[in-house]
C-alpha cells in the first residue's frame, strides 16, 4: 500500500476533464485525479481490511498457535451449542385487549410532525402500542404519502436514551408540580407590573391552540412580550412577502401550473415549508412516462451545490450576495421595475437574459423562488416577478405562523432588554438559543451573557441541553409521538398531532407549559386542544364526530386557508444591498441532516451521507477548487482517509478552524458552512461531532463577509462518495487501469436532453452494451419460469432528487445498525440502500445525477454461485434472498457482486443492550448479528404480508398494494415496486419505457431493478445542458456480448 502523500493537483484534473468530450461521468475529484485511494475503493470491496494499523480491533497479535487454540475452542463450542435446549420463553397476553388491536398486527395512526413549526402529515406504524416506523399521510396536503428524512428518523429520537427524563431545578430532579409552584410565585410577582418583566421565547409555531393560549397570556400580562426565534428564521421570506390584512402573506406555490421555475438560491425541493409537496408537484411536470414528452424548465442560481441545483436544467454557481443583482437584472428584464443592482459577470448576465426570456415566454406559468437565507429584498423581487408573471402558479394566504415577526430583530431587542435588566422572568419553550442564537456584531455569547442577567429562567426541551444548563429550571418536553398538539401545513391545513404512546419519561407538552403561564392549570394538552377546537367553526357543530374524523384523517377539514390577494410594498424593492467589501464571503445553511442541531443526537441522521458530498458525522467548510488553490489548500490524499486540510474562517472578528471540503460546482470566493454541529450537550451520539459554526453567525444574517486562510493540520472526514464505486467512467482507463479496458465507460448513468429524447427516445442508450442473449445462462431457464409473481423495481433517475429519505426509511424498516464515524471511514457502513452521486462535465459547474443503488435482485445473481453454504439463493418469485442463519461470513458474495450492495456486519454494530432502543426495532425483520452478510431484500416482509392478505381473499396482489419502505417515503415517486408479470402494473409500464435500462446488464446479471435515464430540458439559447450519452441520435445500444467497449466510443 502506497502512502505517498501526494497532493492532488487540480491541473491534471482539469486536463482529464478537457480530454473528455463532456459525456463521461465522474464521482469525485479524487477519481478524476486517479488517486490511489479511489483505485483501492474501486478494486476491492473492503479495501480497509488491508490497513490493519488503523483499526485497533485488527491489532490483536493473535499468532498461529493462538489462532488454532481459539479455533479448536470455538469448534468445540459450536458442537456443544447444538446440544443445548432452547430456553423457556414466556408469553404475556393483555388483561383486556384494547379495542381493535390484534397482537402482532401493526396499527397506523395519523399524526403530524412539525419542522420550523410547519406540519407534515404522518401515519405512524405501531406494534402493540410501540411506534416503530413513520410513513407519510396520503390525505395530508403537505405529504401526499411522502416523508422527509427528519420524520423518518424521528422515531429513533423518541427512544433516544439521552432524552431528558424529568424536570430539574439546578440539576436536581423535581416534579412538574414543584415547577408550577415556583412559576406561580414568579407570575404573581409579575402580575402587579402587568407582566413588564415577563418574556416568553418560543420556536416558530403554527399551532392555533398555542396562539389562543398566547393571547390569554397577553390579556393577563399585557406588557409581557412574546419572542419567536428559530435558527432558520426565514426573516427574509417573511419581511419580503406581500401582505395580507397587514401581515406578511404565506406564499403557496403551485408547481403543477408552472412551466418555468427559477430558484434564486432556494433549495425548495428539500427545504422549507411544503418541500415534500413541492417536490411531488414539480416532478409531475417532468415525468416522461406514458408518452408525455414535455417538461418544465428549472433555472437555479445558487451559492452552493444543493439537491435542487442538481436537478436544474441550467445552474449558475454564484455568490450568495450576488443573487440580489441577478434578481434585479431578471426583474428589470421582465418589466418589473426595481432599482438596479451591481454588475453581473458575463455568465450571470447571459443566465439572467435566458431566464428573463423564458419567463416572458411562459408568462402566467412561472415561479421565482428566493432562498430562505436570502435577504428580504431578494424575496420581494421574486414576489414582484411572481405577481406579474406567476399567474395561477403562485397564491397567497394569511400567514400560517402564529407570530409572523422579524425574528432576528425581536431576538436582538430581547438581548438588549435582558442586558438592561428589564427582564425578570423568561420562559423558553423549546429551542436552544444559548447554542444557536446569533451574536450581536462584535460580541461573543451575546444571548448567554444576556440570559444570565435574568433572575428567573426556565427552559423546556427534549434534551437537557446547552440552554437548559443555563436556566434554573429545566423541563422535560414530551416528544411529538407522545404528546397532543396541532399545527398547520404549508397551505394552512391543520393537523391534530396525536400521541402514539404515553410519555416514556415525565415529559410535558409545550401547550401545558404555556397554559400554566396563562393561569390554566390542571388541564392536559388534550383538554386544551379540545377546549380550543370546540369553539372553532370547523368543529363546533358536531364536535365529537368532527374530532374523531380529524384524528382519523390526520387533517381538520375546512382549515385550509383561503387564497387572498396580497399587496407588495414597493419600498421593499428599494435600495440594493450594499456590496460586500471583502474578497470572501460565508453562507450559513441548515445542515441537510441534523438541521439546526436539534437532530444532532440521532445516529440515523448523523450516519446518513449528506447529499452531494456524502459526508457523515461532521460539518465542514465547502469551497471550490479555485478558492482552495488561492488559499493553498488541497486535500492531502492518503489511502482510505478523506483527510481534509483545515481552513481558518474569520467572521466578525471570531475565528473558527474547520476542515475544508473542495466541492465541484461551488462558486468562487465563498465558503458554505452547515449549522448544527459542535454541540456540547447534545447527548452521547451528537456531542463533539463537527464544529460549532453558530459562533461565527451574527444577527446581520446568514450571508456575511469572511476572511479565509489555510489552517494548521488535517482532519479526517468520513465521506462515502468513493465507497462501493462500481465504475471508473471518467478515468482514462489505459492510463490508470491497464488491461481492464472493459471497465472504462460502462454506461451506469444514462442521461440526455429533451430535444434528443423527442427525436429518439432511445438515444440515451447509445453506445451502451446490450445485454447478451437471454439463452446465455448456466442455469436452466425452464426451471425458473417465474410464472406467479415476479417482483421488480423501476427507479426514475429523472425524478430522484437525492433527498436521502429512502435511506433512513430503509434503515428504520430493516433494523439496520449504525456503525459510527471511524468505521464509516473504513467503508463499513451498513446501509442497504445508497444514493450514488455522479458528476458530469466541467468541474466549475458539473451536472449531477443521483442513482439510488440497492440489491438489484439479479436473475443470474453472481453472488449466489459463489456462496459455499447456499446462504444466498433465489426464491420462486425472483427475489435474491439472504439466509442469515446459513451465512458463515466468507464474504465471497460481496466480492462477486458487481453492484457492491452487500454489507457485512463485521462487529456487533447494533446496540442490543439499551432497553429503550429495543423498542425501535421492526419485529417483522430479523435482527442480524455480526459475521453475517446482509443486503436489500426488496422488503420481503412487506411482500409476504401483502401476499398473505391477498391469498386469504383468494386474489392476486393488486398493483401498489405492496410498497417497499424506500418507495413509500419518496416525495417524487422515483421508486416504483411491483409485479413485472402484471403488464398493467406501474413497474411493468415503467420498464417498457424507452428510457429504461439495467445497470451493468452486459454482465448478463439480468437485474430485477432497472433505471430510467435522466433527461434535462436545457434552454436552446443558453446551450450546454446534458447531451445524450454518445450524443448521436442513432438508436439503441450496440453489440451482443463479446464486443469490446473500446468500440463504444462515440463523440
Amino acid at each position: 500500500m502506497s502512502h505517498r502523500d501526494h497532493h492532488h493537483d487540480l491541473e491534471p484534473v482539469r486536463e482529464a476533464i478537457s480530454r473528455k468530450t463532456g459525456r463521461e461521468f465522474w464521482r469525485s475529484l479524487e477519481e478524476l485525479a486517479g488517486t490511489d485511494r479511489f483505485r483501492d475503493f474501486l478494486h476491492r470491496e473492503f479495501p480497509a481490511l488491508n490497513a490493519p494499523e488503523t483499526d485497533p480491533s485488527m491489532l490483536d497479535p493473535t499468532g498461529r498457535r493462538n489462532f488454532m487454540k481459539l479455533m479448536g475452542a470455538s469448534l468445540a463450542l459450536a458442537g456443544l451449542t447444538a446440544c443445548t435446549r432452547q430456553p423457556l420463553e414466556h408469553v404475556v397476553p393483555y388483561v383486556k385487549t384494547p379495542d381493535g388491536l390484534v397482537p402482532g398486527k401493526p396499527q397506523f395512526y395519523a399524526t403530524a410532525m412539525t419542522l420550523n413549526g410547519v406540519a407534515s402529515g404522518l401515519l405512524v406504524e405501531s406494534h402493540e402500542g410501540r411506534p416503530t416506523k413513520i410513513e407519510g399521510n396520503p390525505d395530508h396536503p403537505g405529504s401526499l404519502g411522502a416523508t422527509d428524512i427528519f420524520a423518518q428518523a424521528s422515531v429513533l429520537g423518541l427512544y433516544d436514551p439521552d432524552r431528558s427524563q424529568s424536570a430539574l431545578k439546578l440539576g436536581d430532579a423535581r416534579t412538574w408540580g414543584d415547577f408550577l409552584n415556583e412559576l406561580t410565585a414568579w407570575l404573581e410577582a409579575q402580575r402587579p407590573k402587568r407582566g413588564k418583566g415577563l418574556r416568553i421565547l418560543t420556536e416558530n409555531s403554527t399551532s392555533p391552540t398555542l396562539a389562543s393560549l398566547m393571547a390569554k397570556v397577553k390579556t393577563d400580562f399585557p406588557e409581557s412580550k412574546w419572542v419567536t426565534y428559530d435558527p432558520n428564521t426565514r426573516d427574509g421570506a417573511r419581511m419580503g412577502a406581500p401582505t395580507v390584512g397587514g401581515k406578511p402573506a404565506n406564499v403557496v406555490y403551485k408547481f403543477e401550473n408552472a412551466e418555468v421555475v427559477v430558484s434564486l438560491d432556494a433549495d425548495f425541493l428539500t427545504n422549507g415549508p411544503g418541500a415534500l409537496r413541492y417536490a411531488r408537484d414539480f416532478m409531475s411536470k417532468r415525468r416522461l412516462t406514458s408518452g408525455a414528452n414535455e417538461m418544465n424548465r428549472l433555472f437555479v442560481a445558487e451559492s452552493t451545490l444543493t439537491t435542487t441545483g442538481s436537478k436544474a436544467d441550467h445552474r449558475l454557481p454564484v455568490k450568495a450576495s450576488e443573487i440580489d443583482a441577478l434578481a434585479r437584472s431578471i426583474a428589470n428584464a421582465v418589466g418589473v421595475s426595481v432599482a438596479a443592482g451591481g454588475n453581473l459577470s458575463g455568465d450571470a448576465a447571459k443566465f439572467a437574459k435566458a431566464v428573463a426570456d423564458d419567463l416572458q415566454a411562459h408568462a402566467g406559468k412561472c415561479i421565482v423562488l428566493a432562498g430562505e437565507h436570502q435577504p428580504a429584498a431578494v424575496h420581494a423581487i421574486a414576489n414582484a416577478i411572481n405577481a406579474k408573471l406567476g399567474g395561477t402558479a403562485v397564491a397567497y394566504t394569511a400567514p400560517i405562523e402564529i407570530n409572523p415577526i422579524d425574528q432576528t430583530a425581536a431576538l436582538t431587542e430581547l438581548i438588549g432588554e435582558m442586558n438592561a435588566g428589564q427582564v425578570e422572568c423568561i420562559i423558553i419553550v423549546g429551542g436552544n438559543p444559548v447554542y444557536n442564537a446569533p451574536n450581536l456584531p462584535g460580541q461573543k455569547d451575546s444571548f448567554l451573557n444576556a440570559l444570565k442577567k435574568v433572575p428567573n429562567r426556565a427552559h423546556m426541551s427534549l434534551y437537557n441541553d446547552e440552554t437548559s444548563a443555563q436556566c434554573q429550571w429545566h423541563l422535560a418536553e414530551a416528544h411529538y409521538l407522545e404528546s397532543w398538539g396541532d399545527a398547520r401545513a404549508f397551505d394552512g391545513t391543520v393537523s391534530i398531532i396525536q400521541p402514539l404512546i404515553q410519555p416514556l419519561y415525565q415529559g410535558r407538552s409545550p401547550l401545558e407549559l404555556v397554559a400554566a403561564v396563562a393561569g390554566i392549570q390542571g388541564k392536559t394538552a388534550l383538554d386544551l386542544l379540545k377546549d380550543y377546537w370546540k369553539t372553532q367553526p370547523q368543529m363546533a357543530a358536531n364536535f365529537d364526530q368532527a374530532w374523531k374524523q380529524a384524528l382519523h384523517d390526520g387533517v381538520v377539514a375546512g382549515t385550509k386557508l383561503a387564497e387572498e390577494s396580497a399587496q407588495l410594498d414597493a419600498a421593499k424593492l428599494a435600495a440594493p444591498a450594499p456590496a460586500k467589501g471583502g474578497q470572501y464571503e460565508i453562507v450559513f445553511r441548515l445542515d441537510p441532516h441534523v438541521h439546526d442541531g436539534r437532530f444532532a443526537n440521532n445516529g440515523w441522521l448523523q450516519e446518513c451521507p449528506k447529499p452531494i458530498n456524502k459526508i457523515t458525522w461532521d460539518n465542514f467548510a465547502i469551497i471550490n477548487g479555485t478558492t482552495a488553490a488561492k488559499l493553498n489548500l488541497a486535500p492531502k490524499d492518503e489511502p482510505y482517509h478523506a483527510t481534509a486540510k483545515m481552513i481558518n474562517i474569520t467572521v466578525d472578528g471570531k475565528e473558527l478552524a474547520m476542515p475544508a471540503w473542495i466541492q465541484a460546482g461551488h462558486p468562487n470566493d465563498t465558503v458554505t458552512v452547515y449549522l448544527g454541529y459542535g454541540r456540547e450537550r447534545a447527548g452521547n451520539v451528537g456531542n463533539k461531532t463537527g464544529f460549532n459554526t453558530y459562533l461565527l453567525k451574527t444577527t446581520a444574517g446568514a450571508i456575511a463577509e469572511a476572511k479565509l486562510a489555510a489552517g494548521e493540520g488535517t482532519y479526517q472526514l468520513a465521506s462515502t462518495q468513493e465507497h462501493f464505486a462500481i465504475d471508473v467512467s471518467g478515468i482514462d482507463s489505459k492510463a490508470f487501469i491497464p488491461e481492464e479496458n472493459d471497465l472504462s465507460d460502462r454506461h451506469i448513468v444514462r442521461a440526455g436532453n429533451l430535444e434528443e429524447y423527442k427525436k429518439n427516445p432511445k438515444a440515451v442508450h447509445h453506445g451502451a452494451h446490450l445485454p447478451p442473449d437471454p439463452k446465455m445462462t448456466i442455469y436452466h431457464p425452464e426451471e425458473h419460469p417465474y410464472n406467479g409473481y415476479a417482483w421488480g423495481m423501476a427507479i426514475d433517475m429523472n425524478a430522484c432528487i437525492g433527498c436521502n429519505a429512502c435511506i433512513v426509511s430503509c434503515q428504520s424498516e430493516n433494523n439496520i445498525a449504525v456503525v459510527g464515524k471511524e468505521l464509516v471511514t473504513r467503508g463499513r457502513q451498513m446501509h442497504w440502500l445508497r444514493i450514488d452521486t455522479y458528476f458530469r462535465g466541467d468541474m466549475a459547474n458539473p451536472e449531477v445525477y443521483f442513482q439510488p443503488m440497492m440489491c438489484q435482485h439479479c436473475e443470474n445473481a453472481p453472488c449466489e454461485v459463489v456462496c459455499p453454504v447456499n446462504a444466498t439463493v433465489h426464491d420462486a418469485e425472483g427475489l435474491n434472498t439472504q439466509v442469515y442463519n446459513r451465512c458463515v461470513g466468507t464474504r465471497y458474495c460481496a466480492n462477486n457482486c458487481p453492484y457492491k450492495v452487500r454489507r457485512f456486519n463485521y462487529l456487533l454494530y447494533g446496540d442490543w443492550e439499551t432497553p429503550s432502543l429495543k423498542n425501535v426495532r421492526n419485529p417483522e425483520v430479523t435482527i442480524r448479528s455480526r459475521g453475517v452478510m446482509e443486503k436489500c431484500t426488496f422488503c420481503v416482509q412487506r411482500i409476504m404480508n401483502g401476499k398473505i392478505e391477498a391469498e386469504k381473499q383468494n386474489r392476486r396482489v393488486a398493483d401498489g398494494e405492496i410498497q417497499t419502505a424506500c418507495q413509500t417515503v419518496c416525495p417524487t415517486e422515483a421508486i416504483i415496486f411491483g409485479d413485472i408479470n402484471d403488464k398493467e402494473s406501474r413497474v411493468a409500464k415503467l420498464k417498457a419505457e424507452p428510457r429504461n435500462y439495467e445497470v451493468l446488464a452486459d454482465l448478463n446479471t439480468r437485474p430485477r431493478a432497472s433505471y430510467l435515464a435522466a433527461i434535462k430540458n436545457p434552454n436552446a439559447t443558453l446551450g450546454g445542458g446534458a447531451s445524450s450519452h454518445g450524443g448521436s441520435s442513432e438508436s439503441g445500444g450496440h453489440g451482443n456480448e463479446g464486443q469490446k467497449s473500446g468500440e463504444a466510443k462515440h463523440g
Binding site: R85, L88, V91, Y94, A876, E924, T937
Partner: protein, 219 residues
C-alpha cells in the same frame, strides 16, 4: 531387524480405519439424531404454567371451539393468547371461588397480566403466520396434535425446519375442508391423495417452489 508388528496388524490397521470412520460417522449421527430427540425439542414435555389450565377439559369435555380463545387465528400471524378477560367471561360465574383460579382473578383485579410459558416456540428468525395456514385448509391438530386430550399443553412435533418443510413440499397430504379446521378428531380420509389435490386447487395453494422458498418463512 525383526518386524515390529505382526502381519495380522495390517488387518487390524485396516479395521481401525473402518471403525474410526464408523465412530466419526456415528458421532455425527448421534449429534443429528440427538437434536431430534424430545429431550432437545421438548416434545411431549408438558410445560409448567402459572395456572393449571387444561385444554382437555375446555376443548375435550366442554367442547369450546379453539377460536373462542385464540380469536385471531384466522386473521393474524399470531393465534392470540387469550386475555384475562376471556377467562373471566366464564369464570366470574363458574368456579368463581376455586383456588386454582386465584391467579386469574388476581390478574383481573390488579391489571397485571398472567405470564404463561410458551409451548410452541419457534426461533425468532422464522416468521410463522397462523391465518394463512388456517385459511388454506391446514387444521389446528395437524401441528398441535390432539389438544383435546392434553390436560397440560405440550408440543407433539419437533418444530424443526425439516418438519415444516415436509408439509411445504407436499401440502396436499394435510389439507382439509374449512369446516374441519378446528376438528380435533379429523384424520386424513383414505382418499386424501385425491381430496388433497382438489382442495389445493380450491384453496389456490401456491407451487412447491414458492412454498419452499427461503423468503416464505425467513425475512
Amino acid at each position: 531387524m525383526p518386524q515390529l508388528f505382526h502381519r495380522g496388524m495390517n488387518t487390524l490397521a485396516r479395521l481401525s480405519i473402518v471403525v474410526g470412520l464408523l465412530v466419526a460417522g456415528g458421532g455425527l449421527m448421534f449429534v443429528i439424531e440427538f437434536n431430534r430427540t424430545p429431550y432437545v425439542t421438548r416434545a411431549f414435555e408438558p410445560r409448567e404454567q402459572p395456572v393449571q389450565f387444561s385444554h382437555k377439559h375446555h376443548v375435550g369435555d366442554d367442547g369450546i371451539d379453539c377460536r373462542y380463545c385464540h380469536t385471531t387465528v384466522e386473521t393474524a400471524a399470531s393465534a392470540g393468547i387469550p386475555a384475562t378477560k376471556t377467562c373471566m367471561n366464564c369464570h366470574s360465574q363458574l368456579f368463581a371461588n376455586s383456588p386454582y383460579l386465584e391467579i386469574v382473578r388476581e390478574s383481573w383485579r390488579t391489571g397485571q397480566p398472567i405470564k404463561w410459558t410458551k409451548v410452541h416456540d419457534l426461533p425468532d428468525f422464522a416468521y410463522f403466520n397462523h391465518s394463512i395456514h388456517v385459511n388454506k385448509g391446514v387444521g389446528c391438530s395437524t401441528c398441535h396434535g390432539r389438544v383435546d386430550l392434553m390436560p397440560l399443553m405440550y408440543n407433539v412435533n419437533s418444530l424443526h425446519m425439516e418438519w415444516c418443510i415436509a408439509c411445504h413440499r407436499d401440502p396436499n397430504a394435510v389439507l382439509r375442508e374449512q369446516k374441519d379446521i378446528t376438528n380435533m378428531e379429523w384424520v386424513a380420509p383414505d382418499d386424501q391423495a385425491e381430496k388433497g389435490k382438489e382442495l389445493a386447487k380450491k384453496y389456490n395453494i401456491q407451487s412447491k417452489e414458492v412454498l419452499t422458498s427461503c423468503s416464505t418463512c425467513h425475512r
